[in-house]
C-alpha cells in the first residue's frame, strides 16, 4: 500500500472500529439490563434498501437523483431482457449494437462498449476490464431473478468507485427467502426468441438458497442493406447460465450470503461482417454482514469474476489481405514469403478479485456514515489486444467515506470522498457534496456538486492491437494506447427537486445539471509506419459539456393502476481530437448527443388476474458514437398477461409486442428492429 493511502486507511479503519463497536445510544447506556427497551427500539428504522451511499436513505435524503425499478414495475413493463428496463430511466440511451450486444449509457458517448457506468449485481461489479464495458448478454441475470434495480443518475464515484463516473446501476436479485419451490418460465417469439428459466428455492441444511438455470437465444437482426450493400446479419446469440444464491444466518447478528454463477454464450458480433464469439463467464461472491446492537453494521464483500472469450475468425494470409501473391513485384516484404497473419482463433481473458470492508455507522445522533476500504486485482490476457502472450495485471486500492448530517429538521447534508490508488499511477480523490432542503415534508430541493476521476482500464492503458509478420515487422497497427494516458475528469453541478402529491401517490423528480468532462478517453488517428500508415491511438482526446434536465414521475393511485413517465433533454457541446497527424483534425462531439428522450409506462390490472401494459419510448435523431446516424422514432411496446391461481400455484400467460409499428434503426442504420411478438408462460409451484 502506498504511503499516500496508508494514513487515510488507518483513519477510516479507526473510525470503523469505533463506530461498529457495540456503541450504545444515550438511551441504551442509561439502562444496564438488556430486558429494558427504550424508545429507540420502537422508533428504529427497518433497513431494507440501501441507497446510493450504501446507507438506508429515503429519496428525500439521497445526494443524487435515484430511479428505482421495483418488481411491480418490472412485471408491469413489456421488457423481455434486462436491458429493456433502462428505457424507463431518464437520460439513458439503450440500444443493440448488433443482435448479440446490448449497450446502455447515461448522457454521453454510447459506443459499442459504453464504459462510464458502473454496473453491479448485488454489489458485485460486472464491468469487465477486457472490454472496458458490461457484456449484458453473459451476466446471467434474467428479469425473473431481479427484486429491484437502483439507478443513481449522476456521478457516484464516492460510493461505487471511479467507474461510477456518470451514473451507477445496482441490480438486486431475489432473496432465497422470497419464494419457495419451483418456477418455470419460458418465452417463444419471432426473431427466433427462445428463452427459458428454471428456478428452485429451498433449503440445504441451514442454508436457504435460490438456484436457477436459464437459456436465452435469438437470431438477431434480419439481413439488410447498408448504402446498397447487402449486410448478412450473422448476429444470433445464445446463452446458458446457472446461478446459485445461498443465505445462512448463524445468529441474529450475522448473515452470510454466497453466490456462484457460470455462463456460456455463443454470440455473433460485428459491423457489417460478423464473427462468432464464445464467452465463458463465472463468478463467486461472499457477503458477510454483522449487525451491532447500536444499529451499526459491518460488512465484508469478496468476489471473483472470470471471463474468457474466444473469437472465431476467418484465418487470413498476408497475400489475401493485400490481394497480391508474394511473387508479385508489389509484394511489400521482398524476400519474405507469404504467411498466415491472422489466426483462426483469438482468445482473451479477464479476471477480477475484489475485497471490500465496509462499516455503516451512526457516530453521532445526527450523523451517519458509511466508510470502507477495498482492494481490487485485475488481470487481463489477450494476444490480439495486448500483443503479448502473458498476462497484464494491476492492483488498485480505494478508501471511501460518505457522511450524512441532519443539520436541522429541514436540512440534510451529504459529503462523500473516495481516495483511489492504482499500483502504477498516482492516487486521486473524487468527492461529492450535496445539500437537501425540505421546503415542506413533501417538497425537497437538492443541490449537489461532484468532482470525479475515472482511471483508464487495463485495456485503455495497455492496448496494443497489432498484426505482425514477425517480432520485428508490424504489418498493421489498429489501436495503440498512448503511454501517457491520464484519468478522465468530471465536474458536475445539479439542482434537483423531489415532490410528492396526493398522499404520495404521485411523485416528481426533476434534475437540472451541468456536467463538464475533460481528458475523456477516445481514439485519435495518427500516422504510423505500417502498411496503411495509419493507427488509432487511445488517448485523452475528448472534452465536452453536457447541459440538460430530466423529469421523472410516478403515479400509483391504487394497486391496479401504475403510470411512470420521464423526459430528458441534454445538449452536448464539445470536441474530439479526431486526427493528430499528419494534419490536425478536430471534430464536433455535439452530434452524438441524444437531445430528447422520453418514456411512458402505463399499466392497469383488471379483475381475474388480467393486466394490460404499454410502454412508449421516444428518442430524437442522433448519431451514435462509433455507430451511424439514426432517425428519431417512437417505439410502442404492449403487454397483456393473465394469472391463474390453482392450489397455491400461479400460472402466468403473457404476450409482449415490442415495437408495434414500423421498423426503426438500432445503433446502426442497417440494424432494423422490426415488430417482435413474444409469448410467455410462467408456472410457479411453491
Amino acid at each position: 500500500m502506498s504511503t499516500a493511502l496508508r494514513p487515510m486507511c488507518l483513519i477510516l479503519l479507526g473510525s470503523m472500529a469505533l463506530g461498529t463497536a457495540n456503541v450504545l445510544s444515550a438511551e441504551q447506556r442509561l439502562i444496564s439490563t438488556q430486558t429494558v427497551l427504550t424508545e429507540d427500539d420502537f422508533l428504529v428504522e427497518i433497513p431494507m434498501v440501501q441507497g446510493p451511499t450504501h446507507m438506508t436513505q429515503t429519496l428525500a435524503q439521497t445526494p443524487a437523483s435515484v430511479t428505482i425499478l421495483d418488481r411491480q414495475t418490472i412485471q408491469a413493463s413489456a421488457a423481455v431482457g434486462v436491458i429493456d428496463l433502462f428505457r424507463l430511466v431518464p437520460g439513458f440511451q439503450t440500444y443493440f449494437v448488433d443482435g448479440s450486444r446490448m449497450g446502455t449509457t447515461y448522457h454521453a458517448l454510447g459506443d459499442t462498449y459504453p464504459r462510464r457506468l458502473e454496473v453491479k449485481v448485488d454489489g458485485r461489479s460486472v464491468y469487465e476490464s477486457i472490454f472496458s464495458a458490461v457484456d449484458w448478454s453473459v451476466i446471467g441475470v434474467t428479469l425473473d431473478d431481479i427484486e429491484y434495480v437502483e439507478i443513481v443518475r449522476g456521478a457516484n464515484a464516492s460510493t461505487d468507485g471511479s467507474n461510477a463516473f456518470l451514473a451507477s446501476i445496482n441490480i438486486v436479485t431475489r432473496s432465497p427467502l422470497a419464494d419457495s419451490g419451483w418456477s418455470i418460465n419460458s418465452q417463444l417469439g419471432t426473431g427466433d426468441v427462445r428463452n427459458a428459466n428454471l428456478a428452485y428455492t429451498g433449503t440445504l441444511g441451514p442454508v436457504n438458497h435460490r438456484t436457477s438455470l436459464s437459456f436465452r437465444s435469438n437470431d438477431g437482426f434480419d439481413n439488410s442493406f447498408d448504402q446498397g450493400v447487402p449486410v448478412i446479419a450473422e448476429d444470433s446469440s445464445e446463452n446458458f447460465s446457472g446461478t446459485f444464491r445461498g443465505l445462512w444466518t448463524p445468529n441474529a447478528s450475522d448473515s452470510l450470503e454466497f453466490q456462484a454463477g457460470i455462463s456460456e454464450s455463443n454470440l455473433g458480433i460485428g459491423e457489417r461482417e460478423y464473427i462468432k464469439r464464445k464467452v465463458s463467464y463465472k463468478y463467486q461472491y461472499v457477503n458477510w454482514s454483522r449487525l451491532m446492537s447500536s444499529g451499526s453494521k459491518l460488512q465484508m464483500l469478496l468476489y471473483h469474476n472470470d471471463m474468457e472469450t474466444t473469437d472465431q475468425i476467418a484465418p487470413l494470409f498476408l497475400s489475401e489481405a493485400l490481394g497480391i501473391p508474394d511473387s508479385s513485384p508489389n509484394w511489400p516484404l521482398p524476400g519474405l514469403p507469404d504467411k498466415l497473419v491472422v489466426d483462426e482463433t483469438d482468445r482473451a481473458e479477464s479476471e477480477r478479485w475484489d475485497l471490500e470492508l465496509r462499516g455503516i455507522l451512526n457516530p453521532l445522533e445526527n450523523l451517519r456514515a458509511v466508510t470502507g476500504v477495498a482492494v481490487r486485482h485485475d488481470r487481463v490476457q489477450g494476444q490480439e489486444l495486448f500483443d503479448r502472450p502473458d498476462s497484464l495485471s494491476e492492483t488498485s486500492h480505494r478508501a471511501y467515506t460518505n457522511l450524512e448530517w441532519t443539520s436541522s429538521d429541514r436540512l440534510v447534508l451529504n459529503g462523500g470522498l473516495v481516495l483511489e490508488k492504482k499500483d502504477s499511477a498516482d492516487s486521486y480523490f473524487s468527492y461529492r457534496l450535496a445539500g437537501n432542503y425540505q421546503l415542506h415534508p413533501e417538497h425537497i430541493v437538492r443541490v449537489a456538486f461532484n468532482r470525479s476521476f475515472r482511471s483508464p482500464t487495463l485495456l485503455e492503458s495497455q492496448q496494443q492491437q497489432l498484426v505482425r509478420y514477425n517480432e520485428d515487422i508490424i504489418l498493421d497497427a489498429s489501436v495503440i494506447s498512448d503511454t501517457d494516458i491520464n484519468n478522465e475528469r468530471l465536474r458536475s453541478l445539479e439542482v434537483g427537486y423531489l415532490g410528492y402529491l396526493f398522499d404520495r401517490t404521485l411523485s416528481f423528480d426533476m434534475r437540472l445539471f451541468r456536467e463538464q468532462l475533460t481528458d475523456v478517453i477516445g481514439e485519435r488517428r495518427s500516422g504510423y509506419p505500417d502498411l496503411d500508415n495509419f493507427v488509432n491511438i487511445r488517448d485523452n482526446t475528448d472534452r465536452f459539456n453536457v447541459d440538460g434536465f430530466e423529469i421523472q414521475t410516478h403515479y400509483r393511485p391504487n394497486d391496479r393502476f401504475l403510470l411512470r413517465g420521464h423526459y430528458s433533454y441534454s445538449d452536448i457541446d464539445g470536441e474530439t481530437l479526431y486526427r493528430s497527424s499528419p494534419e490536425l483534425e478536430i471534430r464536433d462531439l455535439g452530434v452524438h448527443g441524444l437531445k430528447h428522450g422520453a418514456g411512458l409506462l402505463t399499466s392497469y390490472a383488471f379483475d381475474r388476474g388480467v393486466t394490460l401494459s404499454s410502454m412508449v419510448s421516444y428518442r430524437s435523431a442522433t448519431r451514435h458514437y462509433l455507430g451511424t446516424n439514426v432517425e428519431n422514432h417512437t417505439r410502442i411496446d404492449l403487454k397483456a398477461s393473465r394469472r391463474w391461481t390453482i392450489n397455491n400455484s400461479n400460472i402466468d400467460l403473457s404476450l409482449v409486442v415490442q415495437n408495434a409499428g414500423e421498423p426503426y434503426s438500432e445503433f446502426r442504420n442497417y440494424n432494423q428492429f422490426k415488430t417482435q411478438y413474444v409469448l410467455g408462460l410462467k408456472v410457479s409451484m411453491p
Binding site: E27, L37, F42, L247
Partner: protein
C-alpha cells in the same frame, strides 16, 4: 382538538373519540380563569435530543395547549444533548417550573436526578425504561409516583395488534408471535389475548444467538398471521428483513409495531406516533394544573395510529377496508 386529531389519523383507544376530556377541562379552566389566568403556568420541557420525533412531540404539545388555552402557558425548552453536567437545580430555570415534561429516556434520567417538587410527566419512554429509571432514582415506582412522577409509555398493547389482525383476517385461525429476550415474559398474556380473539397462539422466541430464519420459518409456514413483538433494537432490526421476506414467501401477513415496518413490507401496524404521545401529554398537563399534589401514575397510551400497506395487501390478496372501519371495531371491542 377533534378535527386536529382526525387530520393526523390518531386514534384513541378505550373511549369514544370525542375529545370530551379536553373540553371539560377547557370549561373548568374558564370557570376558574380568575385564578389561573393571573398566574401563567410555566411548563418546562427537557428533551433528549433535537431530532424529528422528539421535536414533533415538543411542538405538538405546545400547539395543542395553545389551541385550547391561548397564552395560558409559558414554555421553557432545554435539550439534554446540549446541557453540561448536572448543575445545582436552584440555579436552573426549571426551578420555577410548575410542570415538568421530559421527552425521551435520557431526558427522564436527567430530570429525575433533580428531585424536583413539581409534577413530572415523562413521554416518549417505554414502560420498562420508566420502571428502571424510577427504581434507579427513587428506589421504586411507587416512590416515584409519590414524588409526582408520571409517565405515558409508548408501548402499544400487543392485544390491539392481535385484534386488528383478526379484523383484517377474519378467517385466521393461528397467530404466530415472535418474542425476544425482552418480551418473552409477556407470552402468557399474549396467549390469552390471542385466544380471546378466536385464534390459536403459536410462539417463537429469538435470542441474539439464535438462527433467526431457522426459528421464524417453521412458525411462519404454519400460521395465518404473524405478529412480531417489539424487542431490543438488535432483535427488531435483525429479524425484520427475514420476517418480511418469509412473509412474502408464505403469503402470511405481518402485523407490526411501527410505521417503518409497514413501509418495509408489513401489512399493517398499530403504534404510538409523536402526535399521539403529544396529545395525551397535553391533556395530562391541562388536567394536572387543576389538581394540587396529584400523585404520579404510569399511563398506558391512550391514542394510537394505524398504518396499512395496500401494495402488500394486494399481493397477499387481503381485502382492506378504510381505516375508520377498523377504528370503530377496535374501539367497540374495548368497551
Amino acid at each position: 382538538m377533534r378535527s386536529t386529531l382526525s387530520q393526523k389519523k390518531a386514534y384513541r383507544g378505550g373511549r369514544p373519540q370525542s375529545g370530551w376530556s379536553m373540553r371539560v377541562l377547557f370549561v373548568v379552566a374558564i370557570m376558574s380563569g380568575g385564578v389561573v389566568a393571573a398566574d401563567p403556568v410555566e411548563v418546562f420541557f427537557l428533551v433528549s435530543k433535537p431530532t424529528t420525533d422528539y421535536l414533533e412531540v415538543l411542538t405538538t404539545v405546545q400547539e395543542e395547549l395553545e389551541e385550547e388555552f391561548p397564552d395560558k402557558y409559558g414554555y421553557t425548552i432545554e435539550f439534554v444533548s446540549e446541557q453540561s453536567a448536572v448543575e445545582s437545580v436552584a440555579s436552573l430555570p426549571m426551578a420555577t417550573a410548575d410542570v415538568f415534561v421530559t421527552i425521551g429516556t435520557a431526558a427522564a434520567d436527567r430530570a429525575y436526578q433533580y428531585k424536583l417538587g413539581v409534577p413530572i410527566i415523562s413521554v416518549l419512554i417505554t414502560d420498562s425504561s420508566f420502571t428502571a429509571l424510577a427504581i434507579k432514582h427513587f428506589g421504586s415506582v411507587d416512590r416515584a409516583f409519590a414524588r409526582q412522577v408520571s409517565s405515558i409509555c409508548i408501548d402499544q398493547p400487543t392485544s390491539r395488534s392481535i385484534r386488528l389482525a383478526k379484523l383484517l383476517l377474519p378467517r385466521a385461525k393461528k397467530a404466530g408471535v415472535m418474542l425476544g429476550p425482552s418480551s418473552v415474559e409477556r407470552q402468557e398474556k399474549l396467549a390469552e389475548s390471542i385466544s380471546a380473539a378466536g385464534m390459536a397462539p403459536e410462539f417463537v422466541t429469538v435470542g441474539a444467538k439464535d438462527n433467526p430464519i431457522a426459528k421464524i420459518e417453521p412458525l411462519m409456514r404454519n400460521t395465518d398471521v404473524f405478529i412480531p413483538v417489539p424487542d431490543s433494537r438488535l432483535i427488531n432490526i435483525a429479524t425484520a428483513k427475514w420476517i418480511l421476506q418469509l412473509s412474502y414467501r408464505h403469503k402470511v401477513p405481518v402485523i407490526a409495531f411501527s410505521r417503518t415496518y409497514v413501509k418495509a413490507g408489513a401489512l399493517a401496524a398499530i403504534y404510538s406516533s409523536p402526535q399521539n404521545v403529544a396529545l395525551q401529554a397535553a391533556e395530562w398537563i391541562a388536567d394536572t394544573v387543576m389538581v394540587t399534589a396529584k400523585e404520579g401514575q404510569a399511563y398506558p397510551p391512550k391514542y394510537y395510529s394505524m398504518h396499512f400497506n395496500y401494495s402488500v395487501a394486494s399481493s397477499l390478496d387481503v381485502a382492506i377496508e378504510n381505516e375508520q372501519f377498523y377504528l370503530e371495531r377496535l374501539q367497540g371491542g374495548s368497551k
